[in-house]
Amino acid sequence: MLNLILKDILIQKKTLGFVGLYILILSIAFQSIGAGAFIGIIIAVTYQLVVTAGSHEDKAGADIIMNSLPLSRREIVISKYLSVIAYGLLAVLGYMAFSLVINLIPISVKISPITPENMALAFTGIMVMNSIYYPVYFKAGYVKSRIISFILYFVFFFGLMALFGVMNINGTGAMLNTVTGLLSGMNKVQFFLILTGGTLIFTLGSCILSIKFYNGREF
């Protein structure tokens, strides 16, 4: 399984080289939305990596070779979901490295802080987004599912931006408090448990559906 995740990263070595530049552009573009910038950037970078991996798989006709190896279709599907987490972590690492560089050089780019709350929301965002996308990807293949991934990206990305705009949030604590405040009588721990549990159940359901679809695919 680990090798399949490493494969997903390895096939887009070139794209990884551009992640830093991508984060810089997005950081400048999202300065006005404060804490939401981090979440938006993680979603954007992960989306890019998911799409690029799909494009490389499609170009190589990799389904044929992967399904000719001693490898179950279930393993192939599960590895894709785990790769999303790996992409998210890579995006966070890239963001951290970028923040470090920005702090060292005299450039006035406002860096949105990385907090546990931000991380939880960013990973919820990428998992939910890709849990909607992957069943379509495994059912229809990369080319036919491209439009869905594009729509999802815009819905999640600009949806979040709009949400943060409405909430008029500047600090991370304020953001979480606003969100948790909506769920009356709920503390942070409860909120995160519900968020994580909900995401996990949603992802699991999506993964089961993807396995079912992929088992029926022909190459």
């Binding site: 390895l10 490389h56 044929i64 000719s68 190896l69 001693p70 190459f219």
Partner: protein, 289 residues
């Protein structure tokens, strides 16, 4: 004789093509050629064996095991070479090998290195920078480096120059010296099989026309060449695929008595090669029309 692969009553229907109830078996220790013109069902059959396509009905067993229920176990013992490159173009030979090698229980790195050296493959070069011949050699090195008992090859030599083709055939010939292994070699370049195949299965329009030893096949068929007037006799019904010109006709027959009768009547009988057999069988309808 033990069979390494058995296909029984296999059916698969597409909107424009049907694989119609095909059955055949591959004996262990031999190279079996799978011939037929393009679009006759060779790749479909191979994809069904590899479970890349879902069969409508029928049974496929490899090493005596159901190809779906024991899929992983079977694929650990199969080496495959396809007609197209399905490797990630951006990866190097070494990186691609690492991804694939991790899947096989019996991966033999020493063996792989030895093939890489023999084939002159540069480990650090990207797949997209390899020539078609090198890509096939890389596929072959992978297929031969995990002690596979069955090699499945779908048009591996198409588009290769004669030197590379010859090298690949020599390797296959060496592989099959181990009588526990089997090779299923699909091609429309029948001259490759003239050199190395033991058995020939011919598929045409989704149906198996014959499954025989190559020697038996060549022995039982004759090419008949003669004047057109001989076609007016009742011997014509014994001919398979007739090619006419203003100088005479050429046809295939598997009727020994008819061949002798044609010779007595002034025709010439010659031994066919596999290409003749394939061409005349696929020309059958037009020739007899």
């Amino acid at each position: 004789m033990e069979n390494i692969l058995e296909v029984r009553n296999l059916n698969k229907t597409f909107p424009d093509f049907t694989l119609n109830n095909i059955s055949f078996a591959l004996p262990k220790g031999f190279i079996t050629g799978f011939i037929g013109p393009n679009g006759s069902g060779k790749t479909t059959t191979i994809k069904l064996i590899m479970n890349l396509l879902k069969k409508d009905s029928g049974e496929i067993t490899v090493f005596g095991l159901d190809h779906i229920r024991h899929e992983k176990e079977i694929k650990n013992r199969i080496g495959f070479v396809y007609d197209e490159n399905h490797f990630y173009e951006e990866l190097t030979v070494e990186e691609m090998k690492r991804i694939i090698a991790s899947r096989y229980i019996k991966w033999d790195e020493k063996q792989f290195k030895s093939y890489i050296k023999e084939f002159g493959l540069p480990l650090n070069r990207k797949i997209k920078e390899l020539s078609r011949g090198m890509k096939v050699k890389f596929s072959l090195a992978i297929a031969l480096s995990h002690h596979a008992d069955l090699l499945i090859m779908d048009e591996p030599t198409s588009g290769l120059d004669p030197v590379v083709r010859s090298e690949i055939l020599d390797i296959l010939y060496n592989v099959i010296q181990d009588e526990n292994k089997g090779v299923f070699f699909s091609t429309h370049i029948t001259s490759d099989l003239d050199r190395i195949a033991d058995y020939i299965i011919m598929i045409y329009q989704g149906e198996i026309l014959f499954n025989k030893s190559k020697d038996e096949l060549v022995e039982e068929h004759s090419i008949i060449k003669g004047p057109l007037c001989l076609l007016d006799t009742n011997l014509r019904s014994s001919l398979i695929g007739i090619r006419k010109s203003k100088y005479g006709f050429e046809a295939l027959t598997k009727d020994r008595e008819a061949a002798n009768a044609f010779v007595k009547a002034g025709a010439v009988a010659e031994k066919p090669v596999l290409e003749d057999i394939m061409l005349f069988y696929t020309r059958k309808e037009n020739g007899n029309a």
